[in-house]
């Protein structure tokens, strides 16, 4: 497979996953802003997903509709859903011959939807949940079309690498920001609604209720988002799939690079699998998360260096 093509497939997939995270986050944050209007702030969302300075965040953090427009349709915000979908579609366009026509058309339709100028007006005046749902649905269609039409092989594996690498990073970032509010203190208790919205924003609420019967506490939340293998957005789950998909690449890439990167992924996966909350609290949650993030970035860099570098 052409290096440029592998690169585009990898990023196409990362952008889609990133857009997905952003929209889920926006949706639940909007919902929670309707619950506790006085205390609610958009600061965590803007901290994770924008390049805004602290001062700019301070002026916008309590203006929900402005945040939604900034995060969804703003042309100048590089991380707006508009720009992310545009980049995903540009990547797809440049590798049209390496994805199925169904997948291309799905992304193309998504692009036309997000480009619609009426969207901004609707976000300002109408029910934002309806609009976010219509966009999130496009992501779901994308994953369905990907799974049911996309040919398996090298390209599919590179797409999945992008997908799970991005997902692991998003979950880490979320924890880092949400727990920074609590000064990374695992024993500190927070309001039930705080945890509930956190879980809902990554589609983890139902699983939590069924798994952790003792109620809401920081350790259980951390366990689900880092270690729970039944939770498709947990860091460990993502790492596991990253590893599996990388192994699929074995026949397609040269042996040296394969062993090197396979070692990196395996090491990180084991590091997480064979640690626990006691260990996390010993090294400090923030340090622990930063460490994982650095390892993920190193994996991304190695993929780039060995497979994508083409100019």
């Amino acid at each position: 497979m052409l290096s440029r093509v592998a690169d585009s497939l990898f990023w196409l997939s990362r952008y889609i996953e990133r857009g997905d995270s952003i929209m889920r986050m926006l949706k639940t944050n909007y919902a929670s802003s309707q619950d506790l209007s006085s205390g609610f702030t958009w600061k965590p969302v803007l901290t994770i997903f924008s390049d805004m300075e602290k001062k700019e965040i301070a002026t916008m953090e309590r203006k929900g509709r402005d945040v939604l427009i900034y995060m969804v349709t703003d042309r100048d915000n590089g991380n707006s859903v508009y720009n992310i979908v545009t980049r995903a579609r540009e990547n797809a366009r440049s590798v049209q011959d390496n994805i199925t026509i169904e997948l291309w058309q799905c992304l193309n339709n998504y692009y036309h939807l997000v480009k619609d100028e009426a969207l901004e007006r609707k976000l300002k005046r109408e029910d934002p949940v309806t609009i976010l749902d219509s966009l999130i649905k496009q992501n779901m269609i994308y994953y369905g079309v990907l799974d049911s039409t996309m040919f398996r092989g090298e390209g599919f594996s590179f797409m999945n690498l992008g997908h799970f690498l991005e997902r692991a990073q998003q979950s880490i970032n979320l924890l880092d920001v949400k727990f920074s509010d609590l000064s990374y203190d695992l024993e500190k208790t927070a309001d039930i609604t705080y945890w509930k919205h956190l879980l809902m924003s990554i589609s983890g609420y139902n699983l939590y209720l069924k798994t952790y019967r003792s109620g809401f506490d920081a350790r259980n939340i951390l366990h689900q988002i880092i270690f729970n293998m039944n939770f498709p957005r947990s860091v460990l789950y993502s790492l596991h799939h990253l590893e599996q998909n990388f192994e699929q690449l074995k026949p397609h890439v040269d042996a040296d690079s394969y062993h090197q990167i396979n070692f990196m992924i395996g090491k990180l996966r084991s590091k997480i699998q064979y640690s626990n909350l006691d260990h996390v609290s010993k090294v400090g949650l923030h340090n622990y998360l930063v460490g994982i993030n650095e390892d993920l970035q190193a994996i991304g860099n190695a993929l780039n260096q060995h497979y994508f570098a083409y100019s």
């Binding site: 052409l2 290096s3 042309r75 890439v253 083409y310 100019s311």
Partner: protein, 482 residues
């Protein structure tokens, strides 16, 4: 209003051959379509037009215009009423193109080796050497199976009496074939059952025929040669076509930066390292192909690719240097080529053409500018062209001065009327001028011409210019099986 009433109001311009209507009668080969449409209301036609547009949009059959940093997707205008060609008209077109391509291919092979046609005085030597597309690097080079023109688009028009003329040959990188394919798919959607009812011959085999030919051109005797399509990239207006063809053939679409030449071999950069490339279907103009040989500023090409080509380590499709055969001043001599190489009379006529280098013809042209079309010999796409009867005094004066200064760079032709065909425009069925570009594929086993082609339409009322850059659109083009 019903479609039947819309068609009743259809009026053909005087002195014009209309594809559907002769004097007061509709031609036989349009009857089935007229019958079908008589049950469709004008409203429904509007809806079909909308459906066609939304299908083009959602399938990404678009080109992108960038303004203010934002891409705007544009559709190449499509007219929903198909253009119909009878079996007998097609058989004439097919044999005419076949004959013409045989001669043009022999011409290229000759002109880049012994040049008998020049030595025998059929074509003046100065015409060859003054052509900017005559590529000296091609001289003495053997190309696989002696095929230079693998893909050709031959533009045909019809005069007032219905006679077909060749307007120009496109032998470098003819484009538009994806629209031939897409227009057909759209017609299947907007007019269900109409195509089988009419016995329309299929066109979808085009990509498979092309792929078979490309594979057979590999210089390495391997079972599964690496065939790629070289595109200038996403910002090219024909990018959709490149992607479509690559997909339909299952070949890799590459950009210049994906390729590298080492030791006179072309490689592509893959996740596994470098992989040798055998055949390149290039959609980059010759002039941008190799900065070491052609335009040194080009970033679209690949340094050293010409050396690999000359060593016979890679096959380029079409061959380099074909521009000498579709130069508009050389065009004049194609009928002579047919006589010279094949000892046959041309089946398809050329449009009468005046050479501006010839003093008598130049004098005639300068006196009769308002009755002529003036064309630059090395331009295409409707650029560098003057249509005498609708040009301003200033433009005529400008072209006259230019002709006197650079006679080699201009030809003159009488204004051919172009046939008209029914189009659905602003809720009415109206005649518009059309041409026809069938696509021919030449391979080691002979010439295939897919029954159909791209019918381009001058959508502006009264306009004779069908090029997309000048407000043209296209139609699905049917060749009937009987």
């Amino acid at each position: 209003m019903t479609s039947a009433e819309l068609f009743k109001q259809y009026e053909v311009a005087e002195g014009t051959w209309d594809e559907m209507k002769a004097l007061d009668d509709f031609r036989g080969h349009y009857q089935r379509v007229l019958e079908y449409l008589s049950h469709v209301s004008g409203d429904e036609l509007n809806k079909k037009e909308e459906l066609a547009k939304s299908l083009f949009m959602s399938q990404g059959v678009t080109f992108t215009v960038y303004s203010h940093g934002e891409g705007i997707e544009k559709i190449f205008p499509f007219d929903i009423i198909p253009r119909i060609i009878t079996a007998s008209e097609w058989s004439l077109i097919e044999s005419g193109i076949r004959q013409r391509l045989k001669a043009l291919n022999l011409f290229l092979s000759d002109i880049y080796s012994e040049q008998f046609i020049v030595k025998d005085g059929v074509i003046p030597v100065e015409l060859i050497y003054s052509c900017p597309h005559y590529i000296r690097e091609m001289h003495g080079l053997k190309v696989p199976h002696n095929v230079y023109i693998h893909i050709a688009g031959i533009d045909l028009i019809r005069d007032h009496d219905g006679t077909f003329y060749v307007l120009e040959d496109n032998l470098r990188t003819p484009s538009g074939v994806s629209y031939m394919l897409e227009n057909r798919e759209i017609t299947k959607r907007i007019f269900p059952d109409l195509i089988p009812q009419n016995g329309v011959r299929p066109v979808m085999q085009y990509a498979n025929l092309l792929h078979r030919n490309l594979v057979s051109l590999s210089p390495r005797p391997v079972a599964d040669p690496q065939v790629v399509l070289l595109t200038p990239g996403m910002y090219n207006s024909a990018y959709f076509e490149h992607a479509t063809l690559a997909r339909l053939m299952g070949i890799e679409m590459v950009e210049g930066t994906d390729l590298v030449v080492d030791n006179h071999k072309v490689y592509m950069k893959t996740t596994r390292g470098l992989e040798q490339v055998d055949v390149i279907y290039k959609r980059v103009d010759d002039n941008f192909l190799d900065p070491l040989v052609f335009n040194p500023e080009s970033t679209l090409g690949v340094s050293g690719i010409m050396s690999a080509y000359r060593k016979g380590n890679v096959t380029l499709v079409n061959a380099i240097g074909n521009g000498v055969a579709d130069d508009k001043a050389i065009y004049l001599f194609v009928p002579d080529m047919i006589r010279y190489y094949l000892n046959e009379e041309p089946i398809l006529k050329n449009v009468p053409t005046y050479r501006m280098e010839n003093p008598d013809e130049r004098e005639y042209a300068l006196k009769n500018m308002s009755k002529l079309v003036i064309k630059k010999t090395n331009e295409s796409g409707g650029y560098g062209m003057l249509i005498g009867n609708s040009a301003s005094e200033d433009d005529i004066a400008l072209f006259s001065r230019e002709i006197v200064a650079n006679p080699r760079q201009y030809i003159a032709q009488p204004i051919i009327n172009l046939s008209s065909a029914p189009c659905f425009i602003n809720g009415k069925i109206q005649p518009r001028r059309i041409d026809l570009r069938p696509f021919a594929l030449c391979g080691p086993h002979g010439i295939d011409i897919v029954p159909g082609g791209l019918t381009r339409v001058a959508l502006r009322e009264g306009s004779l210019v069908v090029n997309s850059s000048q407000g043209g659109g296209s139609k699905d083009t049917w060749v009937l099986s009987d």
